[in-house]
Amino acid sequence: MKFPRRNPVTTQRLADTYFSIMAVLVLFILLFILGFILVKGLPVLNSKFIFGLPREMGEAGGIFPTIVGTFLLPLVALVFAVPLGVGTAIYLTEYTRENRLTAIIRFGAECLAGIPSIIFGLFGFVLFVVVLKMGWSLLSGGLTLAVMILPTIIRTSEESIKAVPRHYREVAFSLGANKWQGITRVVLPSALPGIFTGVMLALGRSIGETAAVIFTAGSSLKMPASILDSVRTMSVHFYILAREGISLKNAYGTAALLVIIILVINTIAYYTMHKFLEKTHG
């Protein structure tokens, strides 16, 4: 069997064209989604919408309580996840060698990272909302999100602690610092920008989350007065507005603000990581 042989130069041109078209297509789709939401949503955004209270289930009025919920919920999650995640990273990098135990710890973190948010929602519902009787609340939702973002915090913290050059520690020890002092006063401060990147990435993911939040934090439109109150995040609010057809206009507005917040947070994360890597790699 013989294949017709094409001139390799023609093949090369065809290949280059194909790959370029695919890349342009991907960029176009992603930018289109972003542009569409911003074009439709930005005109809705004004101070009344952002700082106003919702009326008629969100059909009229603003979205202020959902903005508060959007930031409070990840805050609760971070309060739990950051100490656990950074602690795990310190243990893995400074206190042990690779062995069966670290393999198990890493396996746990990798599996957690792969679990879909709806499973976190089910888990958070049965453990925090029902068994521990916290109800649909900031606390239940925050704890659920904490478990969800733990792998992100562990991974980024571990990478940034590893990126701190060996001789930083050696200098600390040579000045008479013990291991703990070396870690808390030299290694952690140097790794801080990297850890901050992880926190920002986790924040971005929590803010965009819906399935894990709606069954654990509930969807109350009232301003939360305590950690045991239910809250509604912007993602949940947007989902309810769009799915129940309450108000398309307010859905676009909420989506635009949500996307802007997440892009800003992710950009900060990227920028900090970039600076950090530049510094540690000379």
């Binding site: 090369q12 890349a23 991907v26 992603l30 990798e110 792969g114 948010s117 291991k179 965009g208």
Partner: protein, 290 residues
Amino acid sequence: MKRNVAGKVLLLIALSSIASLAAITFFIFKEGLPLIFKVGLVKFLTGREWSPSSGEFGILPMIFSSVWITLGALVIGVPTGISCAVFLAEIIGDKTRKILKPAIELLAGIPSVVYGFIGVVILVPFIRETFGGPGFSLLAGSIILGIMILPTIISISTDSLKAVPNSFREAAISMGATRWQTTIFVTLRAARTGILASVILGMGRAIGETMAVIMVAGNALNIPHSPLDPIRPLTSNIALEMGYATGDHQKALFATGIVLFVFIMILNVTATGVSRLGLKTESLSGGRVK
């Protein structure tokens, strides 16, 4: 003394991830297993009837829907994503890549509800008018999921292509291969484990995605016979009914969660295995281990 205490406390903290995984497994199974035993495992997995009010709990249509929508997402996302990764890693220079790759990664942060919404206002009407049917369909779900997994596939595939040592490319070029031949026969092959890992991760994301799918896939309880049929995957079934389910019905949703959980864990273990294999082959070939 103090050092030992710190080490022990940190060890306890470090066990939090595996403890969380154990707790998730325990509670999902504790809630769901009794119902599976009550209905019977085979009947639960192969039953075609889901009617909680009359005590019928068969999830075969949802298993089919999950498998089809995941395959659909891969058909759309994998070739596009890998082609885009080749463009980023092999065709353009470092400078352009350093702008384009972060831009694509930033877009991974767009929440799934937003993707779903775009699907509802643009894709679903388009499918309805072009191909007929309700528009809310397996096709719409696959396209949206295919787009959603693009950043994952592109980002990891680009990294693994970049991790292939330049000496590989130089050797191929010096043997008279064109750049295209080098990419197809050398670079893509050398990076295959990393690319495979990116596909498995994308697959995990697709099978676990909930909100976007609820919005565009139609949620009908059928085994799909055409891409234009509305479908209801496992994830959608849980999220749609969790809000009002009680008693056995709620337990059946946790049982649906168990099936999803098992799917995901199989993928996770495969992905871990693949990336370990990747590390081994890379270090054997003298490549930079990331």
